[in-house]
């Protein structure tokens, strides 16, 4: 008999007033009892609407059925058939718009907590003693993956499982891409990311850090001189946007990328870190996406009073619902319908305040969201000593400008078809480098599709 509770089993979390002062993980994870109880809420629908909402098509009812039986190893096997990063996705996927958004139980009451169950299964698996990995037999073909973020890791994993000799090239000194430099420790512990990468290495994948493709070596050189038959470009969307308003280059103004990189990659939040960070006493974060929530919650943990300034209303916030909820609980103040127009300076060149135009919503724009328009003459000034611009990123032009015959969109995204095939023979692309800034799971889905296409290409060459 299914558990007919209308509500999800609640996720145990660190108390808001405790966690907003530390960088440890916020959500603590289900116990076995909670997981089994939650799994019993699944109706095991024949047509699996949840699976259609999953970018990597995990057989969700099947893994949940295993959890309900207490067969966690079996549950992991089901997930691992489709996903190479379940411990990551269980934590950072926007489930409310994907699997859980399609769950029948969500029509009346809350959907099954699919994300929490995925996380439970992955964490359970990671806590088991290591089992020897069966390294697949080599098929004699060499493939390169550029970028070690979600799309690159997914692509490398699928290719390695098919026996390809895969090398992942990473520009930074640590692999993981946005999972390492972007998403904070309290939402995605770095030990989990490294564990996933170690898993890939056990499959035989080589990871070359400190290699900036487009500078250290080009795509053409990889193919012509180093013998890579096919290349996957998963270089992400790492170029930060600024608003181009007066005062944006003052001391104390960061891009979210810089702020988060200092904290996550360089560990600037640790007292003995050799990389500094200044979140100030009053920080203003501009933007409403997941990255803005991450930056805000980091600034809070570094001791600042934090304001999120967003030009639309709460309904239009693009961030995951859970992140907004957590941010609010932690004491972050939202200023909706406000848009910065100028950052004012102290005498010695530091941020003093942010002048914001007040907005109202009018007709929906091309994206379907209500368009914010200025209310004439209505301004507010917010005192601040730190401003973090979190208004989006675009693909880095480095690879485009150094790869012959690779077509890109006007805005910088690489042109690729559904399977990831680009205008250059043997070269595939996916993730944010193609779509512009999106989600971890969409990037993973693109990496997997490209791996299948690259396999076909190399086998038929």
């Amino acid at each position: 008999m299914a558990n007919m509770s209308l509500k999800k089993n609640e996720m145990p979390v660190q108390e808001p007033d405790v966690r907003n002062k530390n960088f440890k993980e916020v959500a603590l994870g289900y116990t076995e009892e909670q997981a089994i109880d939650e799994a019993k809420r699944c109706l095991n629908c024949k047509n699996k609407p949840c699976t259609t909402g999953c970018p990597v098509q995990i057989d969700i009812p099947a893994f949940i059925a295993k959890v309900a039986e207490g067969d966690f190893a079996g549950a992991y096997e089901v997930i691992a058939r489709s996903s190479s990063l379940p411990a990551v996705c269980g934590r950072v996927c926007p489930q409310e718009n994907q699997c859980e958004g399609k769950c029948v139980r969500g029509i009346k009451g809350e959907p099954v907590a699919i994300g929490r169950l995925e996380r439970f299964v992955a964490d359970w698996h990671n806590a088991q003693p290591e089992t020897a990995v069966n390294k697949p037999a080599s098929n004699g073909h060499k493939a390169a993956v550029i970028g070690s973020g979600p799309s690159g890791l997914a692509c490398a994993s699928d290719l390695a499982k098919k026996g390809y000799d895969v090398t992942v090239f990473e520009a930074l000194h640590v692999a993981g891409g946005v999972l390492s430099y972007g998403i904070p420790e309290f939402r995605l512990p770095k030990s989990i990311v490294q564990k996933e990468i170690e898993g890939l290495k056990a499959l035989g994948v080589k990871v070359e850090t400190n290699t900036v493709v487009g500078k250290t070596i080009s795509v053409d050189e990889l193919m012509k001189e180093e013998g890579f038959e096919s290349v996957f470009i998963g270089s992400g969307a790492g170029l930060p946007r600024f608003m181009n308003i007066p005062g944006e280059n003052l001391n104390g103004v960061y891009s979210a990328n810089e702020f988060l990189t200092r904290i996550n990659l360089m560990k600037a939040y640790k007292p003995d870190s050799s990389t500094p960070i200044k979140a100030g006493t009053k920080a203003v974060i501009v933007g409403g996406g997941n990255v803005a929530m991450d930056a805000a919650r980091c600034a809070k943990r570094l001791g600042a009073d934090v304001y999120i300034v967003y030009r639309r209303t709460e309904t239009e916030l693009p961030a995951r619902a859970e992140e907004v909820e957590h941010a609010k609980e932690e004491g972050i103040i939202f200023k909706f319908l406000t848009n910065p127009v100028e950052i004012k300076s102290t005498e010695d060149g530091w941020v003093k305040s942010v002048v914001c135009q007040q907005m109202e919503l009018s007709e929906p724009d091309a994206s379907g969201r209500a368009k914010p328009v200025p209310i004439e003459g209505a301004f507010i000034e917010i005192d601040a000593d730190c401003v973090i611009m979190s208004i989006g990123t675009s693909p880095n032009p480095l690879i485009k400008s150094t790869t012959s015959g690779l077509d890109t969109q006007k805005w910088g995204g690489i042109v690729a078809d559904e399977a990831g095939k680009t205008s250059k023979e043997g070269v595939y692309a996916g993730g944010d480098a193609v779509t512009g800034a999106a989600t971890v799971i969409l990037a993973m889905g693109a990496g997997k599709k490209a791996a299948a296409a690259m396999d076909e290409y190399m086998q038929n060459k």
Partner: protein
């Protein structure tokens, strides 16, 4: 790993290191830079490439001991390895079409100015090098500059090496004496470059300044190295490090450069104390 193959002290505060980094050496060009970390907890610091040997697979860096990381770096010896060494980053110095160039370097900036002078010299460009230091103990690469320049002027603040005065004094004298440069390339402290650019603007000589701002990734990702050039925001790491000196907002660059001064001073003192204790 990135082994230190050679270490040489150029003066009491400036050190040269030759690093084994074949991939970087293969692609390096004058004007570009690398980013390194000394250890697994270290910060990322950008250093301009002073020289490279494609056949030997080595890259030479020259650094001044100014902070915690350069202090730590200076405590490494031949045979030790750097944790990370990535590059070449940034754009190379543009040399096309040049016939006569004045290279103006100040302090440790001369380490970066030298490979530029050498490349121009090798390309058959007439090079006049003007280099300035605080005093004679701090002079570096004098012989190398002489070999790469048809005219070499050494300046020092206190007159203990070459002539007493600023590099701008020497540059002005050369211009007034009728030397016609089709470009001035300046590398050194921001304040020096600001005044070099102000001078060459008066004479309408195209001038390039090499910027060395605070930087993390060096690939265009963080925007920490941004500066204003001709009213537009540019990233030194991917758009530079060299820019039209007449368009750079040097005052903003100087303010941004001072952003972490108190932190840096503290970290430097701590690093120095640590090494004292070890001794």
């Amino acid at each position: 790993m990135f082994e230190i193959l050679e270490k040489r002290s150029l003066n009491p505060t400036v050190t040269l290191m030759k690093i084994n980094a074949p991939r970087v050496a293969k692609k390096a060009e004058p004007g570009q830079f690398i980013i390194l970390r000394t250890d697994s907890e270290g910060e990322r610091i950008p250093l301009t490439i002073a020289d490279f040997d494609r056949n030997a697979g080595t890259v030479t860096i020259i650094f001044q001991i100014v902070g915690a990381t350069t202090e730590k770096l200076n405590h490494l010896n031949e045979g030790d390895c750097l944790q990370d060494f990535v590059g070449p980053l940034g754009r190379a110095t543009e040399t096309e079409g040049l016939k006569k160039v004045a290279v103006v370097g100040g302090g440790v900036g001369c380490a970066i100015a030298y490979p530029v002078a050498k490349k121009l010299h090798d390309l058959g460009v007439e090079v006049h090098s003007i280099v300035g230091f605080r005093n004679k103990d701090l002079v570096i690469l004098e012989d190398e500059f002489r070999a790469a320049s048809s005219k070499f002027v050494l300046m020092s603040d206190d007159g203990t090496a070459g002539e007493k005065g600023l590099v701008t004094d020497a540059l002005k004298k050369l211009i007034e004496s009728g030397e016609k440069y089709d470009r001035v390339i300046t590398i050194g402290p921001l304040i020096m470059m600001k005044f070099v650019c102000r001078l060459t603007k008066e004479y309408e000589i195209p001038t390039v300044a090499s910027m060395n701002p605070i930087m993390i990734d060096g690939t265009g990702m963080c925007g920490g190295c941004r500066l204003t050039v001709g009213g537009e925001t540019k990233f030194a790491c991917v758009d530079g490090p060299e820019f039209d000196g007449h368009l750079i907002d040097f005052d903003e660059a100087m303010a941004r450069g001072a952003m972490y001064k108190p932190f840096e001073r503290h970290a430097y003192e701590e690093a120095c104390n640590l090494f004292k204790e070890v001794k």
